[in-house]
Symmetry: C2
Subunit: 427 residues, 2 copies
């Protein structure tokens, strides 16, 4: 774990913290082969790959409707209730994102903006050893709010074929009927190219491991995809008012996701920084191996001379999750330019947003928050502009349009407008 | 040119019309080399490539401020005025797209959505033989409205070094100070990787030829890009009320963009279809070679049995530009699911939207309108969610979040919430 003054980081240390994108040339070759097999041989390749990579002999690719229907009943009541609380909160927050169509008219011209849902969407939900029902909700609830008529979920099979009942129950709660027991790059290939069992979709969303992420990148000429994804991250800005034990827990929570997770504290209080470091070192003794690994390799506790210095670093870092635990949270928030999702104050751990507060947990990592946004209803809508000019409206802009068309050497463009003006005078 | 009943198209004919994405394996190899040269050797490679590919020996990569300042004065007054009319219309329409931040509070939780501009954007503006000042406006005006502090334009040099005064004047009008005389894949490489003269940007937008498009695809792991682009397209839905000569002019206008342009009429009136075909054949005698080529290769006049059949085909086609010239334009518009931008009625030729009505002309082609939107202010903003819970708000969702965290096997997530609850009880 790195412990340092922010101002005294070496060039290499800074570079390592800020530049978190890695190339994966070897994995890429493997992924290309998987994509090609599925593209050429469809279902047959899916079954083979599931056997080879998941160690499961699938009898059917699609989860039968009755298995989906029965899934909620197999859960403990409090788990089912928790899923429903999460679903309702996510729906509440995302409903506020649904944009309205609008138009504006002036002097013979009506211009407007329509929103239309995508015809179909594929949600990738990680699985295998663990199950991630929360990710089902984060992808499918906004898609349904946008009005997407066809939502397909791909998630790896469990040991006995069907994905975990928890994941299936989340699908059922989110109103998803189309679920496939296929994971990894092969799932992305199926959603992008289509197979006998899985019709292709217009867009693939959802997080995954490096194989899934590479596959999404490689098929992005064929289908749209959401933001690129990498290992989970948190950056915490804390002043002297923050409680080191809580800060350490939030870093550990992020670290337990992935041995490559990145957990950074930037504190204006050397005392908080040092106490957090000690708490982390202590916790590492009991933490699961992957959390320990992540903290050792990707953990950093940095001391900033001022909140401004901390914010400036956070903006360059562009973390997936940003926690602000200070005595001036709102002022700090106003200075934030780059982050996936922000958590303010000591009572807003990232774990709340991961599950049940309502914000989305599919977020840009690896600095992609500098240019990308987290998943939202907007990902499932297209914006379509339109215009209707009447003779008056046309005449108002005709001269400018004709002049520019000729200046750009596009004579037929000019003619297509002039011909209307001629008609107009004879109307 | 294809003339047929829509219902009688062969499988191959339909496939050719609907599946318009082409692979470009040869161009890709050349583009990869260009990207690599610029990545490794920066400015030196830019100068070499400009000499090799544009035949211009550049003395400086960046256009000096005084050359930009002088550009408007070198134009004919009516051209300058036309640029200003276009700029004002584009600004008007795009200002309406600027989203407001919002938040909502309930029972101890405040959740919200912020919008932040990207720190930097690169606009690619085609050029060389012709100049496209309109594209400068379409990219830079929305970026400026979004609040992007750094907007860089790359456009190919003219024969004597600097890009055309028309393009430079548009930059000046749009408030762009950073303009580089670099075009093609090398411009995309410079914007993505950075060179001594050109700092890298967070996102690259703007249309280009196949080299530019491929380059944008290949660098999309490094920087964000707008929608994939291909040759221009128009699909026109017309009933018996449409005037064949105007329809033919709109198709010709689209055809003159590119020998690979796609121009399709779907008419419920056989008479309108036949007359348009005749008008096109007649016009081809005088049309420039590229328009003739486009119409012969990519032109189609199709007869539909009903408006519904025409709309259904248009939705599958997902055209960049959709014209609707019928006696029920608004009803038809309501049925449209996939299109870049829509033009209603006989007085709304696509050429108006290309320049001066205010809508954006950077639009998804090749069927990408099924999943992508045209350029807008949203392309230059990130959405950042945030939340602030107080003890009451945390308590309301804590049980659900803790239950789901444990169900997903993420113990530290659960602990990070529980620890807050414990604090709360001792507050």
């Amino acid at each position: 774990m790195l412990f340092a003054e922010l101002a005294e980081l070496s060039r290499e240390q800074k570079e390592r913290l800020l530049n978190r994108r890695r190339s994966h040339a070897e994995a890429e070759a493997a992924v290309r082969q998987i994509l090609e097999r599925v593209r050429r041989r469809g279902d047959e390749a899916l079954l083979e790959l599931t056997s080879e990579l998941d160690g499961v002999e699938l009898e059917e690719i699609r989860v039968p409707e009755e298995v989906l229907e029965e899934a909620p009943g197999t859960l403990q009541p409090e788990v089912l209730e928790a899923l429903e609380v999460a679903r309702a909160a996510i729906e509440d927050f995302h409903r506020k994102q649904v944009p309205e169509d609008w138009s504006c008219s002036s002097a013979g011209a009506t211009l407007g903006m329509l929103h239309r849902p995508l015809d179909s969407v594929g949600c990738y939900v990680p699985g295998g050893r663990a199950s991630y029902p929360s990710t089902v909700l984060m992808c499918a609830v906004p898609a349904a709010l946008a009005g997407v008529p066809r939502i397909a979920v791909c998630t790896p099979p469990g040991r006995h074929g069907y994905p975990a009942p928890l994941t299936l129950a989340a699908c059922r709660l989110a109103g998803v009927h189309e679920v496939y027991s296929i994971g990894g790059a092969q799932a992305v290939a199926a959603l992008a190219y289509g197979t006998e069992s899985i019709r292709r979709v217009e867009k693939i969303v959802g997080p995954g491991n490096i194989y899934v992420t590479l596959a999404k990148q490689l098929v992005s000429g064929e289908v749209a995809t959401d933001m690129p994804a990498g290992p989970s991250e948190v950056l915490i800005i804390a002043d002297a008012s923050a409680e080191p034990e809580l800060v350490a827990l939030d870093m550990l929570a992020q670290a337990e996701h992935d041995p490559l997770a990145v957990c950074v504290l930037v504190s204006t209080s050397r005392e908080v920084a040092e106490s957090t470091l000690r708490a982390l070192q202590e916790a590492c003794k009991h933490a699961p191996g992957s959390a320990k690994e992540a903290l050792e390799a990707g953990g950093a506790v940095l001391v900033a001379r001022s909140i401004e210095e901390a914010v400036s670093f956070a903006n360059r870092f562009a973390p997936e999750h940003l926690q602000i635990i200070t005595q001036q949270d709102e002022q700090v928030l106003r200075m934030i330019r780059n982050a996936g999702s922000v958590f303010l104050g000591r009572y807003s751990p990232v774990a709340c947003g991961d599950y049940a507060s309502g914000t989305n947990h599919v977020l840009p990592t690896s600095g992609y928050a500098r240019a990308y946004s987290g998943l939202s209803v907007h990902d499932f809508l297209k914006r379509i502009t339109y215009q209707k000019l009447d003779p008056e409206g046309l005449e108002r802009i005709a001269r400018a349009a004709i002049t520019l068309a000729r200046a750009e050497g596009l004579e037929m463009h000019a003619r297509s407008i002039e011909a209307r003006l001629e008609r107009r005078y004879h109307d």
